[in-house]
Assembly symmetry: C2
Homo-oligomer: 218 residues x 2
DNA sequence: CTACATTGTTAGATCAGTCTAACAAAATTG
DNA sequence: CAATTTTGTTAGACTGATCTAACAATGTAG
């Protein structure tokens, strides 16, 4: 069974993997906030346990078992976040920190019960998909708000970043998942976008914000 | 902040402390399932951190800070057990294992929220008191069923042991907290007790069982 | 293609938490 | 109270996860 540390490495590896499923040691080190030698020794351990493929001076790749176990940790994290929001009344900006700890609990029925109580949700409070019990993750491809055209009506469906600061910024603008946005105009110079939604008749969103907003065209 | 290991030692120390607040190294070793040298080195660490008083060849004693922090871990454990039973539908025999893990989560608002959702319960699903936010624990003195007399009507209010096996035994007999028992007779030879309750007209409970049942005389 | 920058590895140390073996103090018991 | 048992301590080793310093391989840019 994976230690908490190992679970954290699996999660990072899963999230950092590129199209070729590869992750560099340096990326992983910076993501995990540890030194490269630490990562070097840890990938050897993870390899020994069948979670990844490692060859000297090459990027590492999760094995199918590694991907599955990583997805199951992510499942625990996202189920927890959803439970905290839907069943315990927390705000979407408060749950990450708690879920970071709860995700390491080894008690299948605890998470099964959460899942059941919530009616088997498929996304977490930030719009990210919740992997199933077998670690399968449904790919959703939303558009970034930056890719949309003026005049379009879109619905906010996900985020590419869920930092507390960003979530609090969105709270301050009354923006939440499900909010329908009308794109009033796009500024060519700085790529900012003017939108209207709910009782906001005109709100300007910077490119920095728009690129983090994932939407579904209505 | 206490590590998980330290939290576990604090909990054991709190539970093992006798009238003089003392705990022997050997007791602690057996409770924690580690060797005596391990305990020896750990108590030195705990002392360094202000949680206990240690002198060579003497039993150890928790400091006020140690007692408080121990009680706060026990609070997290018992709130979790109660939440699992009352809000998530688990049986009282299922919750200990999960709570053993959840108790190490460092997220005050998570436990505050549980507490609030349950209406600030004072006992856990096994009848043990839940310490308050300041680590104060209200002493309840129930009688052991063995101390009761034939003819008395008593209500099951607590347990001195909450092992899964014992809880499953009680489930099999339809015995739960709040059950009112009429003591029909006491057998002098083996100290077994015959009781009636609910729709059980006559059930014989061995001394082993009776001594673990805490009751309130009606 | 060589030089420099970046990335990755090795060696060796540290810390927390654990162990066993050997020994010492304290408690018990004839 | 002396002998034996129980309890506790010390020394030294190990594992997991981390570090820094030194070095080696790879990638990049003139």
């Amino acid at each position: 069974m994976a230690s908490q540390t190992e679970e954290n490495y699996l999660k990072s590896l899963f999230n950092l993997a590129n199209e070729k499923d590869e992750v560099n040691i340096s990326e992983l080190a910076s993501q995990m906030q540890v030194s490269m030698p630490t990562v070097n020794s840890m990938v050897k351990t993870l390899q020994k346990n069948g979670w990844l493929i490692y060859e000297k001076y090459k990027p590492v790749t999760l094995t199918p078992a590694g991907k599955k176990d990583a997805a199951l940790v992510i499942r625990k994290h996202r189920l927890t976040e959803m439970f905290l929001v839907n069943k315990m009344g927390f705000g979407w900006e408060e749950v990450h920190e708690i879920a970071e700890q709860v995700e390491h609990i080894h008690a299948p029925k605890f998470f099964e019960r959460m899942d059941e109580m919530m009616g088997f949700p498929t996304i977490d409070p930030h719009g990210s998909p919740i992997p199933d019990k077998l670690g399968r993750i449904q790919e959703i491809n939303y558009l970034s708000l930056t890719e949309c055209k003026a005049g379009q009506l879109v619905k906010l469906a996900g985020l590419t970043n869920s930092s507390t600061e960003f979530l609090e910024f969105l709270n301050g603008r009354n923006l939440s998942l499900g909010t329908e946005l009308r794109i009033l105009s796009k500024e060519a110079y700085d790529h900012s976008i003017v939108v209207s939604y709910s009782n906001h008749t005109s709100e300007t969103l910077s490119e920095k914000v728009c690129e983090k907003l994932l939407v579904k065209v209505m």
